[in-house]
């Protein structure tokens, strides 16, 4: 089980949170003009990376607010959490995790 740092409440147990998948997917400005290829890609297709994943979480059993996290999906190490609207943190200097 993970410990997750809510940007508002601090470090809490994972059981208080719900994961909601890939972050920073912008809703198209003009949905009516998309063809089925573009609309399907927006709704269903995901990066699903083995490595750093920018993802959304909600503190469901706490402050109920949404935030973003950067987690390594090989080790589950959370490198950073940040509020929506804050830019993606730059993690280029971080050493890659060694998988267990």
């Amino acid at each position: 089980m993970l410990l997750i740092e809510c940007p508002w409440c601090g470090l809490r147990d994972q059981s208080e949170f719900t994961a909601h998948g890939e972050a920073h997917i912008a809703r198209p400005d003009t949905p009516g003009e998309l063809d089925e290829q573009e609309w399907g890609d927006y709704v269903f297709f995901r990066k699903n990376p083995k490595g750093l994943h920018y993802e959304r979480w909600v503190h469901s059993h706490g402050c109920r607010r949404w935030f973003n996290a950067v987690r390594d999906t090989v080790t589950d190490h959370i490198h950073a959490t940040y509020r929506p609207g804050d830019g993606q943190p730059d993690l280029s200097d971080e050493e890659p995790d060694q998988p267990s």
Partner: protein, 453 residues
């Protein structure tokens, strides 16, 4: 009586050893044949007796371990059950024997060797009935066809209903299955008790009824991988273990081969069957999939005497249980609620599984759990697989089986082989194309497959 004698002597013969051979420190299966082509000797009661006389020192290796050739007609990436079955049917039914299976670890080391081995074909939609029942029919003759005992056991499979909603779900699904000509019966709580005398019918999750598929059951997962590998090898397929695909060669939007940790291999066609890692391979080829990968866990107890002779599944409270022939209770847990490739899984998921299991079967409360593990499952939004062409010509993907693809192994490999050979999707595979997430023709098996195995 005959069976008893056979069973007794069969056990005696197959366990007769003098000095066990030293544990070989090799990464391959210990029974590999040398690379030169020696025809496979068939397994039978006579070969068992003959080898017992020789203290089991004389068994032929089950498959060769050749070096990769420079080029194959078809390369299959992924040596799980589905990949090996694909190679076997390519060689057996499609006349394509110039095939390699490229596996980064050892055969069956992915989800094939990590699953709870439940086999059934009672899905809701016609497309699903098509593929899962195709698989079931192949299972029914598989041990004979492969000359390898995959221990397929049609011991019957119950889906419990704990609420009015559950009853409606099994009602709708049970009738749909029946209309597709697949066996499916509704049973009362009393009938459930007859099959599982120690079940607690009136617990926190009362049992209001169940859906029974008598032809459902289990099979031995490793044996499925090994049986297909041995039979494919015998037809000339090269099985390359410890060989990781690290990239694709793509010219003019057409795949021409793979880069591997053992050097480049050219191929006219490539079939990718890597389960949880399908998005990783898709990224190498330059496209994305409608898939997310999650850890899914299972656990087994210490072995006990026979107590449970069917499979009992309970979707809404997430408790799946059966007893292996070794006597262990095999329990399927849930998947973690966040994307991950950490082949491990959270402890809270185990707790959420064991709680309901003990509520239904208080008799198991003092059993010790021996092992727990996780596999990375490739989950689509509609809980149906992808068996499909891709944006790259001659590159085919078979994935998205998620938490429940073991049961489909023979059928999936069979239709995938025919699709690769023909260059056009087999009619049973066609509805499972990646395109459906763009056209909207989803095959929504959420209720029947979402958490069930």
């Amino acid at each position: 009586m005959g069976i008893v004698i056979y069973a007794y002597f069969g056990y005696f013969l197959s366990h007769r050893t003098k000095n066990p051979p030293p544990t070989p420190f090799i990464l391959h299966h210990p029974y590999e044949r040398p690379s030169i082509c020696v025809r496979m000797k068939r397994y039978s009661i006579f070969s068992l007796a003959r080898n017992a006389l020789n203290y089991h020192q004389g068994w032929q290796k089950a498959w060769r371990s050749p070096d990769p050739k420079r080029e194959y007609e078809v390369v299959i990436v992924g040596g799980g059950g589905h990949g090996l079955a694909t190679a076997y049917y390519l060689a057996r039914e499609c006349g394509i024997r110039d095939v390699a299976v490229v596996e980064k670890g050892w055969l069956g080391g992915g989800n094939t060797g990590r699953n709870t081995t439940i086999v059934r074909s009672n899905y809701l939609w016609d497309e699903s009935a098509g593929i899962y029942e195709h698989a079931m029919k192949l299972w029914e003759g598989l041990s004979g066809e492969l000359n390898y005992n995959v221990m397929f056991s049609q011991r019957g499979l119950l889906h419990l209903a704990h609420s009015v909603h559950d009853l409606q779900e099994i009602g709708r699904r049970g009738n749909a299955i029946y209309l597709n000509g697949i066996d499916s019966e509704f049973v009362t709580p009393e009938q459930v008790r007859e099959m599982v005398p120690f079940i607690n019918l009136n617990c926190r999750y009362p049992i209001l009824g169940a859906l029974l598929q008598r032809r459902g059951g289990t099979a031995r997962h490793d044996a499925v991988a090994w049986g297909y590998a041995r039979a494919a090898d015998d037809l000339g397929v090269d099985i390359l273990q410890n060989c990781e695909v690290t990239g694709f060669r793509i010219e003019d939007n057409t795949v021409t081969g793979v880069e591997t940790s053992r050097g480049p291999i050219r191929a006219k066609k490539v079939g990718c069957v890597v389960a949880g890692h399908c998005s990783v391979l898709a990224e190498m080829a330059g496209f994305r999939l409608p898939i997310e990968s999650f850890p899914l866990q299972a656990l087994v107890s210490e072995p006990v005497k026979p107590i449970l002779d069917c499979v009992v599944m309970s979707g809404s409270i997430h408790a799946y249980i059966s007893q292996s022939d070794k006597g262990e209770l095999v329990i399927g847990a849930g998947s973690d609620a966040y994307l991950s490739y950490s082949q491990r899984g959270g402890f809270d998921v185990i707790e959420d599984t064991v709680g309901p299991v003990l509520e239904l079967y208080p008799i198991f409360s003092r059993l010790k759990m021996l092992r727990q593990w996780g596999g990375i499952v490739d989950v689509t939004v509609d809980r149906s697989p992808l068996i499909s062409k891709t944006p790259v010509r001659n590159l085919f993907f078979n994935c998205g089986w998620g938490t429940g693809g073991f049961k489909a192994t023979p059928g999936s490999g069979n239709v995938f082989a025919h699709s690769i050979a023909r260059g056009e999707m087999h009619p049973i595979a066609a509805p499972f194309s990646i395109d459906r997430f763009n056209t909207g023709a989803l095959i929504d098996e959420g209720a029947a497959a979402a958490v069930a195995h």
